[in-house]
């Protein structure tokens, strides 16, 4: 037993990953270079078809924009919540973290369904606004991008808050006191001390929220409806409705590459800002 090097313990998982993770992904790339849906004629036809169509660029841009809007919305309401968490007593912190983690353990489908009840024509928001006399006709919130971004804000917020809180609670509280003692206002302390120091957590949160919201198939199709088209819907249509696997492969590689490009740009930025803070 002593002869066994410790690293060899990782071999079974490595084998599993190579045979059911890496191999399928390589195959996906291979399949994308076939012109026909029978996968018999090799060629670049599907790539030319996808990138020759202006519609594709619009869908890619819409998908990335949806991610950016969701990230912005989760920062707008999530960051203040993290600040409140930071100042709260340990008892309140326990309750807050429970509230933040619970949605994460609820099925995405349940959270999506919840927003149908909230945003629908007879939903909570419309009922409330109409009874207050603010509007006379129900607002159309389902099947709009606004409704989708609102829903994704709740669905993805825990992914923003967890890394943010993890980094923020390691900040030295003396730094904030020092900033206040030196006469800085709370706004100034926020933007010159807390935000730069929490940057690694903020970047990690943005990364997770972006990757998750751009690929949130169920929320996008159920709340966005069929008229708002994002890459996941195209992949689903092409692979499971039209059965054009090579074309679906091209779209899903495009999704993968666009998401990973943004994600690696973000994490590069995160490492850079992290280095700036500590060094």
């Amino acid at each position: 037993m002593r002869k066994l090097a410790e690293w060899q313990l990782a071999l079974p998982l490595a084998l599993a990953f190579i045979s059911i993770f890496l191999a399928p992904l390589l195959l996906l790339v291979g399949v994308s270079f076939f012109n026909d849906d029978k996968i018999s004629q090799p060629g670049f036809g599907q790539w030319i078809k996808f990138f020759g169509d202006p519609f594709s660029y619009k869908v890619i841009a819409d998908t990335m924009l949806l991610g950016v809007k969701t990230v912005a919305a989760t920062i707008l309401v999530g960051y203040p919540l993290a600040l409140v968490y930071l100042d709260a007593s340990p008892r309140v912190q326990r309750v807050l973290i429970f509230i933040i983690v619970l949605p994460l353990l609820l099925s995405v489908v349940v959270r999506t369904f919840a927003w149908i009840v909230v945003l629908g024509r007879e939903g909570v928001i419309n009922q409330l606004l109409m009874s207050l006399g603010i509007i006379s006709e129900p607002l159309k919130l389902l099947q709009t991008e606004l409704g989708l971004v609102i829903s994704l804000t709740q669905i993805e917020m825990p992914l923003m808050l967890l890394p943010l809180i993890s980094v923020m609670s390691r900040l030295d509280p003396n730094l904030r006191d020092a900033s206040a003692a030196l006469g800085a206002s709370r706004w100034r302390t926020l933007f010159t001390v807390i935000v730069p120091l929490s940057m690694p957590g903020l970047v990690a949160g943005c990364l997770l929220v972006f990757a998750s919201s751009t690929t949130a198939f169920i929320s996008q199709t159920v709340i966005g409806g069929v008229r708002l088209i994002y890459l996941p819907l195209l992949i689903w249509q092409q692979s499971l409705v039209v059965f054009n696997w090579p074309f679906a492969a091209v779209i899903s590689i495009s999704l993968l590459v666009s998401v990973l490009t943004v994600v690696s740009a973000l994490s590069w930025f995160g490492r850079k800002s992290g280095g700036y803070v500590h060094g």
Partner: protein, 273 residues
């Protein structure tokens, strides 16, 4: 401190608290609303609900009317149990093997094992469907178990690696210099100390499998229906009110499970680190 609050500080408090309360409202309100709506007496899902009844729960638990939903629940539980079991076995072994290894290859392997967390699940789901079909496998729960294991094992790796890194290496050296074998040290020293980490990871992996959409979407068929896919079907065409009851059950289950995990392994503390 006797410093008077300036206008700027007051505006800071107002802005931060308003947005934080909005965040809490967005997080909690939909869950409460769905729970309340599931007890409606009416035929449609309106809020506030009209009257109180358990009709949708009765319809949901009716074995003949909701047979498809019950089968989907059974499949989802079976897949989650097996994929978590395999994940715990392979994942904790891998963590023991490479978590404390500083070699460059070990870091690469670690990144490789965690990559399903950022890789779009749909891309992997589609790739797995093509791969399994082209090598001639027929759709089955086993394939879904394999797919779920890949996308949920990172949770187990992460929490196990975190507990291993908090472990004092001196404990290992002590045990071995006192003559204990590597295996005995593992069994009597290391494993008991990292068990809560493995358990927390297993819980997260199990929940992620129950919740998984992208892999199940491509690998499940009518016979191997999975709960989230069935629920998606219940929302897509006409809204089936039983989905409110399903949601009610899932919300209650998640709430209770989380309380249990919080008491036993301190789940939220592990998720913050």
């Amino acid at each position: 401190m006797g410093r008077r609050r300036s206008l700027g500080d007051i505006s800071y408090m107002i802005v931060v608290w308003t947005l934080a309360v909005l965040a809490l409202l967005i997080l909690v309100a939909p869950v409460v609303i769905v729970l309340t709506t599931s007890f409606t007496e009416g035929r449609s899902l309106k809020f506030p609900p009209t009257g109180f009844s358990l009709q949708w729960y009765e319809a949901l638990f009716d074995a003949s009317k909701s047979r498809q939903i019950h089968r989907a629940v059974g499949n989802s539980l079976e897949v989650a149990a097996w994929s978590t079991a395999f994940g715990v076995l392979l994942g904790s072994m891998a963590a023991l093997g490479i978590a404390r290894n500083r070699h460059r290859l070990a870091r690469v392997a670690d990144g490789f094992f965690l990559s399903p967390l950022v890789l779009p699940g749909l891309t992997f789901g589609l790739a797995a469907l093509m791969y399994f079909t082209l090598i001639g496998f027929r759709p089955s729960l086993n394939l879904i178990i394999a797919g779920h294991m890949i996308v949920t094992v990172p949770f187990i790796l992460r929490t196990t690696t975190a507990s291993l890194s908090q472990l004092d290496p001196a404990l290992n050296d002590c045990s071995q210099s006192l003559g204990a074998s590597w295996l005995y040290t593992l069994r009597r020293v290391t494993l008991p100390l990292i068990a809560p980490g493995i358990l927390a990871g297993a819980f997260l992996a199990f929940m992620a499998s129950i919740d998984n959409v992208p892999v199940s979407l491509f690998l499940s068929t009518a016979r191997t229906d999975m709960l989230p896919i069935r629920m998606w079907g219940m929302m897509e065409s006409t809204l089936d009110p039983r989905i409110a009851a399903v949601s009610g059950v899932l919300i209650t289950a998640a709430f209770l499970l989380m309380l249990v995990m919080e008491w036993t392994v301190g789940l939220t503390r592990r998720m913050r680190d």
